[in-house]
Every structure is written in C-alpha cells, then in structure tokens.
C-alpha cells in the first residue's frame, strides 16, 4: 500500500469539491488526480467488496442492463455500488468511487455493478478481476474507435479471461457465445437466449447485412425475413447450448421469461423489445449472484458484520417470483425509452447508436398514430461515418412518413429515407427550430424522436426550454 493511500479519499474528495467550485465540469477529473497519486486505489477499494464486481460490457444496452442489474440486486436487499450513466471508463469509475467512499477508504456496499466500454473494460480487468462478467453483444458501432467487430470481440475476450466467478454470455450472438472457450478453468459459463419465435426480431450482426442486401434486391417489395439469413450452423449451435434465462414472448409492457423450464410472465416499465432481452441478460447474472450467496455468507465470517450477514441471508433466499418482481420494478434509463411531456404531447426519446439498435427501436415503437422525427449528428461520440444509416431498414416508416429530419447530417438521413421511399415533410439541420415545429404540430399526438448521442443531449436541452415555455404560457 502506498504511503499516502490513507489520504487518497480526502485528497480525491477535495479535488472533486474544488473542481465543482471551479466549474471544471468533467466528472472524471478527480479520478485522474487519484489515478496519478494512488494507482492501487481502484483495486484496493473494489477488492474489499464481499460479493465482488459485476462487469457489464458489449456494444448495445450496457447502460440499461447495468441499471437493471443494480436495481434488481438492491431490490433483493443488497447494498449496491454502480457507476452513473456515461462514466463507463476506468477513470469515471474511480471518480464515482470517490463520491461514495468514507474517509477511511471503505465503500459501504456489498457488490459493485459496473458498466464499461469495451476498450476500457480491458484496462479495468488488468487492475480488478471481476467475479461476474455479463457480455451482451458486438455490433457495428463506433467503428472509427475499435476498427472491426472481430476486434471488439477480442477486447471482450480479455474480460472473459479475467473473470474468476461466472461469465454470462449472449447465446444468440456467435461472437459472444464463442468467448466461452476463453473463460478460465473454474469459472462457470451461463447463457441468456431467445426462443426460436423471437430470433427473427434480433438478427445478429452478420444476418443484418444479408437482410439488407435482400431488401435492396427486391426494391422494397421483398418480404422482411430477418431470420432467413441465419445459418444452419448458428441455429445448431444455439440448440446445443442451454440458456439459463430465455426471453420467450412480449406484449404491451409485458414480458415472458423461461427459467428452469417454466414460463414467467410479468408487467414491465421498460420500453422496447430489446430492453426486454437485456432484462433476460440481467436476470441471468442476478441468478448467478444469488446462487453464490450461501457460500459467500459462510465465507463472510464476523468481519462482514451482522447486518451484512442478515442482508445476504435474505438475498440468498430470493426465489424466482422475487427475481421476476425485481424485473418488473426496473425503470428506463436516460434516453432509453424516456417519455417527456412537451407542449401537450408525450414525447418519446429514443437513442440510436448503430444499425442494430436503430432497427430494434423501429420494430419496438410502431409509427402508426404517432409523429416521427429523426435527428442525426456526426460528432466524435456519435461516430463520424454515416455509412451505418445504410445498414438500417427504414421501410417500416413508409406508410406514415417522417415529419422532421434534423441534426448536422439531416441531409444524409433524408437521402437515406429517400432511397427507402419514405416521405419526409421537412429537413432542417437546425435542431432547435426543427424541434419547435415538430412538438407544436398535432398537440396530443404521441411523438417519437430518434436521436444519436449528441443529438439527444441537444434535443433534451431544447425540450426543457419548450416545456418551460409551455408551462409559463398555459399556466397549468
């Protein structure tokens, strides 16, 4: 332990306080200072957690799934530490820890649930071996950062190699399922999966490209057969691997999961069918933690304290109905199916980052009876390359059309819609003016706004002003 480690929490908190005061803004800045003066802070602090660390990574759904796992574990009685949305890199975790540790450097939590970006996850596991890893998927996303998706899968392979308890994998993503081979001896592997009936809704990255070229071939007239491209080999493999949790059916805010051969249907607050599959992923990792709890309770001894042993006892007794209840209580995360009331209409904000996410969002929110707007930016956080828009099938919007297209790359989006024969009412690169027209048209009609990451930030800020103006004007 470094001579100055006792002082780290104090220094870190001091920097955090000072950086707030100076409006430094960046939430990672205190983390940077601490990483420099006390490089073992992260490993030391997380290493003391009696139930260890759950690491969540993958291209799509990290934030929502991390939130689900954390929410379910605390619903089942544990004290959970988790990193806030957006700080999914090592330094962000350190900064988040600094806010939570006591001045003696103790973290008052039983378990940590951490969302990490694929590249940062590799850094992280060099310092801290996770007890659980939940690996969701690899999709074409942020390609300018990671190169190719096989490369991204390799990054996640390092996470599987470093996990010493249970690796939970997406059975339906061949690149993720293949990581089972990398789990160390003694580390268990569990899968979450889809019923055959739902597989068509979730084509893997490889299937997607095939589907789109079929679409091109038919000039829009070809039937949507996402599952047609699945290879027999992939299906065969899927048959061989038993899933711990299978997502089998969904309805309006309802989902059915199969656990131990029995189907369990529940109401959910989550929006979008892809989030229900994320819930299956979360269930699988929570089940793994529950299964380990009796052993952890024995191992905890007096040092864990009576209160901890009590919590752990109750947690270990969590049965399937309790787990399903915990799923039903999870609420959507920022920008992941969030509904804001603006100018008298419910406005649904839908974050789109990659072809698969966009496709699943379009499938999850039928456009009929709603107004649609699409906002595409190309800042670094969004990805500079617009090619991905051509891997999304927009023909489901053909009947209703799109009211407004906006963002820096509004014209690229309008061109994409043009080739899919989707009517567009207006194209305006100015987000604020486009949004104003959009939310004030057809009051009461639900609105769907699909946005890239930085576009989402702009839209939220602008909506805040519009909602405020509406409040003042109408005085409701």
């Amino acid at each position: 332990m470094a001579w100055n480690s006792f002082a780290t929490p104090l220094i870190g908190k001091g920097v955090r306080w000072a950086s707030r005061l100076l409006r430094h803004g960046g939430s990672a800045f205190p983390g940077k200072v601490v990483e420099t003066i006390d490089p073992t802070f992260l490993a030391r602090t997380l290493g003391r957690l009696p139930l260890g660390v759950v690491l969540v990574s993958g291209t799509n759904g990290k934030t929502t799934t991390t939130r689900m796992v954390a929410s379910m574990l605390s619903d089942l009685g544990l004290k959970v530490f988790t990193n806030p949305t957006g700080s999914n890199f090592t330094r962000g975790v350190v900064s988040a820890l600094l806010q939570q540790v006591t001045l003696t450097g103790r973290l008052d939590a039983d378990i940590a649930v951490l969302e990490l970006d694929e590249a940062y996850a590799v850094h992280f596991v060099k310092q801290v071996r996770p007890r659980y890893a939940l690996l969701l998927n690899v999709m074409r996303d942020q390609l300018d950062r990671f190169g190719e998706i096989d490369n991204t899968a390799r990054l996640l392979g390092h996470v599987a190699e470093a996990t010493d308890g249970v690796v939970v994998l997406n059975r339906e993503d061949p690149r993720i399922a293949a990581l089972a081979d990398l789990a160390p001896k003694g580390t268990a592997v569990r899968y979450f999966g889809l019923s055959d009936g739902l597989k068509a809704l979730f084509p893997s990255d490889d299937d997607m490209a095939t589907t789109v070229s079929v679409e091109g071939a038919g000039d829009g007239a070809a039937p949507r057969a996402a599952a047609a491209g699945r290879t027999a080999a992939a299906d065969h493999e899927a048959l061989e691997l038993p899933a711990d949790v299978t997502f089998t059916a969904f309805g309006d805010h309802r989902a059915t999961f199969r656990l131990d051969g029995a189907e369990h249907t529940t109401d959910v607050k989550l929006e979008g069918v892809y989030n229900l599959y994320n819930a299956a992923a979360a269930l699988a990792v929570v089940r793994a933690v529950v299964a380990d709890a009796p052993r952890a309770r024995t191992a905890a001894a007096p040092a864990g304290g009576e209160a901890f042993r009590g919590r752990l006892g109750r947690f270990a007794a969590s049965d399937t109905p309790a787990l399903i209840r915990a799923v039903s209580r999870v609420t959507p995360a920022f920008g992941r199916g969030e509904v804001i009331d603006a100018a008298g209409s419910p406005v649904e904000l839908l974050l789109v980052k990659n072809p698969m996410g966009f496709r699943l969002s379009l499938a999850s929110f039928p456009p009929e009876g709603a107004d649609t707007m699409i906002v595409i930016n190309d800042e670094y956080a969004d990805g500079r390359d617009m090619s991905w828009l051509w891997d999304v099938d927009f023909t489901s919007l053909r009947a209703t059309g799109v009211r407004q297209v906006s963002g820096v790359r509004a014209w690229d989006m309008a061109l994409r819609l043009g080739y899919d024969q989707v009517p567009v009412d207006a194209t305006d690169t100015d987000i604020e003016s486009a949004l104003n027209v959009f939310v004030h048209a057809n009051p009461g009609t639900p609105k769907h706004i699909y946005c890239t990451y930085t576009a989402m930030l702009r839209v939220r800020a602008a909506l805040g002003r519009i909602a405020h103006v509406a409040d003042a004007g109408v005085g409701r």
Binding site: G216, M386, L389, W411, R416, D420
Partner: protein
C-alpha cells in the same frame, strides 16, 4: 415491358460492411426510376454463377470474411476478369478493391494473391487511414465519402490504370503518400470510399447504369421513364447535393 438490367452483388454475406449494401440499393432504385427493371442476384460462395451479368458490385469485409470467400473467389477469377475486359461496369469497395488487385502483402510479409484485374498491390500497415474524404475526379467531379482502411495500395505505373481521383492532403487515399485514391481500369472502379459511396455520388451510380445499359441494349434509353419517376430522381439528386455540401465540410 421495361428493359431488364442484371446486377450481381458479389459476396454480400461476407464482404459487406459499413453500408456497402447502400450501393446496391442506390443502383436498384435509380435503375427503376430510369424506367428499367433491375434484377439483383446475390452471389455468395458456392452459389451457381448467374447466366447474365450487366454490373458487379462488391464491398468491404473483415479478415474473417475474406478468408471465407477466398477459395471460391479464385475459382471465379477468370470469369470476373473476362467480364471486366469486355467492359462490364464494376464497383469494388475496400476489401474487394484489394482482392481485385495483384497481391496483398500482410504486415508480417506474407504475400496473398489477388485476381489481378486492377494493376495494383496493397501493403498491410498497422496505421489505419480513417475519416471523411473528398477526392477530385476528372470523370465524376468531386467524390465524397468516408475511407476506413489500414492497407496501403499502390497503382502500377505505365499499364493504363488511373486513380479514381486525387486527394489534397498527405496521409489519405490509396497509400497516404502519392495523393491518389482508388483505381480506374476498363469500366471497373476500385475505391476505399464508404459513406455509402453511390447515394452521395450519383454521377458514379449513373456511370455504372449507363454503361450497363449501353453494353446490353446498345444505348442508354429512358423511353420507359415516367414523368413522376424523372421528378423523383431529380428530387433525390437535390437531396444528395445538400448532403454532399454538408459532408464536404465535416471534420476528418
């Protein structure tokens, strides 16, 4: 009865990345709007070779994709070379551009053969050339797209292969050194430009279409085109012009 144009999409299952299918969609839609009947055949390894081919479109892929197609690709090398020499229009992006060249030398010095339709070779590098790119072409005006490759491609001098266009800065284009991007030989275009390429560069899409129609029917006639189709094509080109103007001003 509209005239048919047979378009072959080459290895769309394994050589199709960063929106390459957007090129197929663009050709298909524009053909229809010119009053032709596009018929697209997806050719993947092991498939029967189509009877009639008026145009060939190929895309990029990952190393694993290239490995999957390579054996089949060599069995089709003569057929593809014959099509190219007889003037069939072709667009080969990124990975297929490299495979249409003479050879690819990997970072560790291993030589992998290409089919030699384009007199060029590629050297694997650790540094990736990536970002928005505008190149200048005498034939098509400014070509606007997004390059994303780590191989450095060099055109062979003195054998009639020309670059598709010229780039202003070092560190971009074919090899980052000689200010060239892409290749032109017969009616074949090789390029590193994604974006997708054809939607924002309708001049290239129309070159492929016009050449295909002239080869098959002796002329590029638009007698079957309706006024509504002509109007829709003009509208798409207006939107493309706006998208080009924005894209040209974006950071790398």
């Amino acid at each position: 009865m509209a005239k048919t144009i047979d378009v072959m999409s080459l290895y769309p299952k394994d050589m199709n990345i960063y929106g390459d299918s957007g090129n197929v969609l663009t050709v298909t839609r524009r053909l229809a709007l010119y009053g032709y009947e596009p018929r697209v055949t997806a050719y993947n390894q092991g498939d029967p070779w189509p009877e009639h081919i008026d145009m060939v479109l190929g895309g990029g892929g990952q190393d694993t994709g290239q490995k999957k197609i390579i054996d089949d690709f060599f069995t089709r090398a003569d057929a593809l070379a014959a099509l190219a020499e007889s003037g069939t229009p072709m667009l080969m992006i990124c990975g297929m551009y490299q495979l249409f060249g003479e050879y690819f030398e990997t970072v560790d010095g291993t030589r992998l053969d290409g089919i030699g339709v384009i007199p060029a070779h590629t050297i694997g590098r650790d540094v990736r050339m990536i970002g928005n790119l505008v190149e200048h072409s005498d034939e098509f005006g400014d070509v606007i797209g997004y390059e994303n490759h780590s191989g450095q491609t060099f055109l062979r001098a003195g054998v009639g292969v020309r670059p598709l266009g010229r780039v202003d800065q070092e560190g971009r284009g074919n090899n980052g050194e000689d200010h060239t991007e892409g290749a032109r030989v017969h009616n074949v275009i090789g390029t590193y430009m994604h974006g997708s390429l054809l939607p924002k560069n309708p001049a290239i899409a129309d070159f492929l279409i016009r050449t295909a129609a002239e080869n098959r029917y002796g002329e590029f006639g638009t007698a079957d085109q309706t006024d509504a189709q002509a109007a829709e094509l003009a509208r798409l080109d207006k939107v493309a012009a706006e998208a080009r103007a924005v894209a040209a001003g974006r950071p790398r």
